[in-house]
């Protein structure tokens, strides 16, 4: 007998949700409302990645008043503030408790395979048999580090955004931060404040002010309908999913975090890290263009906000129209720097990808990416949640889970009904 045949099922359930973050718990809530039998399997504790994979100072990019999940919302006394990591953990954990969500903690999923009538999910606590699986294990499991990192000399300390907690971990001396999304800019600023010289390598990025016309930029994006934009209404859905996170930070001062602000703090900006050769980091000569692309895109977004405000008669409750200085690029941005002497530490803020290494179902494209139609994966009864632009622009935000979960839970419910009817009438799947 094989090992697997000897393993007894830990349980049988209609729906198994993988991950007790905000998405998995929102799905659990929706399943409970439909009285669908389910369990949520969590490798650590509720909101695990917020407990284990975030740097100390990280706060949400959305203001508190936007933090909501199905049947649950922020009710504190600082609606315009931004939750710290610990507050996010409390918020999500509070949701699990309030819903009495059926979470099995400290149990990692090791393998998901098709089985008769659904899936067999192997975990560190035994095997589960289920009819449907919801992947809610997060979009940011594995840092994506460019292959050119292999050429970095051994004396240079390298950290990714999961390993970074605070600047005390870094070598003394100059730091190269690679990546100009929210993570890259936030880390560059924090490390600069520790007294270290910082160079920031900048590729394509998304610039926006924290506050526009006296309102949080997220308010504008939500109110004008931008965050509700559906994937099918974008020009290029694949590209929409690849857009890096906007250059934002949540601070009590509601300060704008952009390349001009960082340069004013003494951070040097360079083009994208394009290569490592002979112990030197080589930067692209495209810095001016990526800044220009971002400035133009920001202005188009602000134009759209103003137009929306005019059309809807929103003029008195918001501040005056404003535009911002173009991103400053000096006369000759640096094209290389010596690693080891000029740079002692590299911090990679070059994005993340989800980890589905345990998913043994043929649902991946030739690049190894999960194939799905807005959360409906190409295998019966398999669903995914919480990925960037899964169904809408807001899909990867906490408040974005509600609409996606409602629609996908409805699809899942129909699927369970259909397969149950088929079985009852003697048809086999």
């Amino acid at each position: 007998m094989s090992n697997r045949a000897q393993r007894r099922p830990a349980g049988t359930v209609d729906v198994l949700v993988i991950g007790a973050g905000h998405c998995g718990l929102a799905m659990s809530h929706a399943l409970s409302l439909r009285s669908i039998d389910h369990v949520v399997i969590e490798r650590g504790e509720v909101a695990n990645s917020w407990r284990t994979e975030r740097w100390d100072s990280l706060r949400l990019l959305t203001p508190n008043w936007m933090s909501r999940l199905p049947g649950y919302r922020y009710d504190g006394d600082d609606p315009d503030g931004y939750m710290t990591g610990n507050e996010v953990i409390e918020f999500v954990a509070g949701y699990a408790v309030r819903n009495s969500a059926p979470v099995v903690t400290q149990t990692a999923v090791t393998r998901v395979v098709p089985a008769a009538g659904g899936y067999r999910v192997s975990t560190t606590g035994g095997d589960w048999l289920c009819r449907a699986v919801v992947l809610a294990s997060g979009a940011f499991n594995v840092p994506v580090i460019p292959r050119l990192a292999d050429g970095v000399p051994p004396g240079v300390l390298q950290l990714n955004a999961h390993q970074y907690r605070n600047a005390a971990q870094l070598h003394d001396g100059p730091v190269l931060v690679v990546g100009a999304s929210a993570s890259g800019l936030q880390l560059a600023q924090e490390i600069r404040h520790s007294g270290r010289p910082v160079t920031l390598a900048v590729g394509e990025h998304v610039r926006m002010p924290r506050v526009y016309r006296d309102r949080d930029v997220q308010w504008w994006m939500l109110a004008s309908g931008l965050l509700d934009q559906r994937l099918e209404d974008t020009d290029d859905p694949l590209r929409a999913r690849r857009v890096p996170s906007p250059q934002l930070v949540g601070t009590p001062e509601r300060a704008t975090l952009d390349l001009n602000a960082l340069q004013a703090q003494g951070i040097e900006i360079t083009g994208r890290l394009a290569g490592v050769r002979d112990g030197k980091a080589l930067f692209s000569g495209s810095l001016r263009n990526v800044c220009s692309l971002a400035d133009l895109k920001m202005n188009r977004m602000l134009d759209a906000f103003d137009e929306w405000a005019d059309e809807n008669g929103i003029t008195t409750e918001v501040g005056p129209v404003a535009r911002y200085a173009p991103t400053h690029v000096g006369p000759s941005p640096r094209l290389d720097c010596a690693l080891g002497t000029e740079i002692k530490t590299i911090v990679w803020a070059t994005g993340f990808k989800p980890d589905y290494s345990w998913l043994h179902v043929p649902v991946f494209d030739r690049r190894g990416n999960l194939e799905h139609d807005r959360g409906i994966v190409g295998a019966p009864g398999l669903y995914v949640l919480g990925l960037p632009y899964l169904r809408r622009r807001k899909s990867s935000f906490i408040h974005g889970a509600e609409d996606d979960v409602r629609e996908l839970c409805s699809h899942l419910g129909d699927y369970l009904d259909l397969t149950a009817r088929r079985q009852a009438s003697g048809m086999f799947m």
Binding site: G275, S286, L293
Partner: protein, 188 residues
Amino acid sequence: MNVQERTADNGVNVEALLGAREALTEAPEAAAFKWRATSEWVSGTHSRATVDGFFGLGDEHKHQQTFQFDTDHPEVFAAEDNGATPVEFILVGLAGCLSAGIASVAQNRNIQLRSVRATLEAGMDLQGILGIDDAVRNGFDGIKVHYEIDADATQDEIAALVAQSQKRSAVFDVVTNPTDVTVTASKA
């Protein structure tokens, strides 16, 4: 509002380009192209290059005609000036690539172009190639490109065309990013 329906025609077959994009997403092996040139030394700093065919879409292709390009150096280099200098060909290539991109992006955005004029200038310190100062690189110390574009578009829309063109330009990438170059030689 008085918005006129515009149908721009910049002579770019955008449908074909978008179709190619879709087809090559499905068949990435067909997207592997090889660009080629040959060159024959004539005399002194004068060479003549020939561009004839290329490989792509899984097959060999011929240009409509064979193109020849003379490269040489001007008289201030004590040469005969039989053609543009090789570094000037870099500018020619960059302008051709960016302008093609501008026309394509404009077509896709339904912007009618009337004129697209590029002026290019590259700085170079000869102390590099002459080996006078090791701290000076051989190549350009920078390239400046200015576009003057007459089109049915706002200033920002024109800036966005030029920016998008750079983002998708092969020659812009070649000159802004490192490229691994292998040069071999054999005795004829």
